[in-house]
Symmetry: C2
Subunit: 272 residues, 2 copies
């Protein structure tokens, strides 16, 4: 799942205002699950690599009000939106336009690196992780958060819904990304040279006992994301309109009182 548009890489979810709103819905819904153990001490220098429209930046800034956060992204419009979003925060974020693969920082500049919903869109995540490792000081840490669309399952099960999700996975693959990257965080961090790698899965489990997740996750985050690629799926002939429509209806069907929905994010940490 994305944090914002990244021109220069294929951004499967597009650049609309509705998509930006979806990203903020997602971030609010998942803040506790993903960020409950993200916190940096006062005075520490933190790089947020690929901040997009600032959906995670707002949370980072609030949770670590004494840290000096530098948030970079390749997209100037996204950075402007992110800057606007954090204006009401503790004032501990500076923004910079930069590409992860050519960061304008000296070796060992940062105590910590944070990268969330970014590697999934990059063609060579090990290379990107290596570029981030360079700007970490020795013993500095990296935190990586990614989803995995292959982790989605639900009740009632539906072949059409699984196929619609498969189309999103395929579109992301064709653009050089990997929507199944969550399960790979351990080997990716290891291959990039990090030590002490530890990965913690974070499942979003949704049933009628959690109406805020039915709305905030199943409908507005996940199903909205799949619906968002409808035109491209139909245009490319990956599914026909009837089949894709059935898949989307079946995803909404899991939001009824007897339905359930599961999706897993992975949070990994490593040490330079």
């Amino acid at each position: 799942m994305p944090t914002g548009p990244r021109p220069g890489h294929g951004y499967v979810h597009g650049y609309s205002g509705r998509e930006a709103e979806r990203l903020h819905d997602q971030a609010r819904t998942l803040a506790g699950l993903l960020h409950r153990d993200t916190g940096y001490p006062p005075g520490s220098r933190v790089l947020e690599a690929g901040c997009g429209v600032g959906a995670q930046t707002v949370i980072l800034a609030r949770k670590s009000p004494g840290a000096e956060i530098t948030s970079v992204d390749v997209s100037v419009p996204s950075l402007e939106e992110a800057r606007e979003r954090v204006r009401a925060g503790p004032g501990n974020v500076s923004f910079l336009q930069a590409d992860i693969h050519s960061l304008p920082f000296r070796d060992g500049t940062f105590d910590h690196v944070f990268v969330c919903f970014v590697l999934e869109h990059l063609p060579d995540p090990v290379r990107a992780l290596g570029c981030l490792r360079r700007v970490l000081r020795p013993e500095g840490t990296i935190t990586v958060i990614e989803g995995d669309h292959g982790s989605a399952f639900f009740y009632p099960d539906s072949a059409a819904a699984r196929k619609a999700i498969g189309c999103l996975i395929e579109l992301q693959r064709e653009k050089g990304g990997n929507a199944l990257i969550g399960r790979e965080i351990f080997p990716l961090l290891s291959a990039a040279g990090y030590r002490g790698v530890s990965v913690s899965p974070r499942m979003v489990y949704v049933d009628a006992g959690h109406p805020e997740l039915v709305e905030g996750f199943t409908k507005k985050t996940f199903t909205a994301m799949v619906e968002g690629v409808r035109d491209e799926v139909l245009g490319r002939g990956l599914m026909d309109a009837a089949g894709f429509g059935q898949g989307i209806r079946d995803l909404y069907r899991t939001c009824e009182p007897d339905g359930t929905f599961c999706y897993t994010f992975f949070k990994g940490t490593g040490v330079r």
Copy 2:
């Protein structure tokens, strides 16, 4: 996943000594994940419904040494093995041969019911849950634990491995069971009339940082379970020997240092 043979229902995993050993490996490996919050107060009357060969009984008895546990199963040989297994325990378990659907107890006999890896093998789990509800006192609780084979995903991904797992799901379905039942615990408990239903997913996440899980779960629990239906899969022509063998090899491949494996159990509770 099973706790033991249940004659009278189709038991997809068979009745061998190797299978009994696999069940105990599984129980030991998963005890913390599944049972860390299972405990009953001294003097409480607990029914374990479908104890099989006693793989969970041993853990239940040790974790609630003051509770009076009654463990029932339809299979007399399984009960004998279970009795042998708990001999070294705190002596708080009595065994009885009985069918969940016709329990020889008066209404409201028990304070708590515990049922683990049983509903997946029953053709009508809501009916079984209703029979268990009858023997619970008002405000008594039920705890249900089930796996979900559709929750398995891994790196490297493999179509052959997914197909081999699909064969196990299909065989279990043909025998009247449901290997995808974990995701259904919330609606099943609700449909059976329980109140205050709450479901908690328990993911087993395995990477090279957890060598005990690579051995105890990916190899000895999950892959051994899939391998265990090889003869039936080939005999029924669900896959050919080459394809099934490839699937099994690909599951073992996830045990290498760069591999990962994910599987989710679901633990649900409800109140009469």
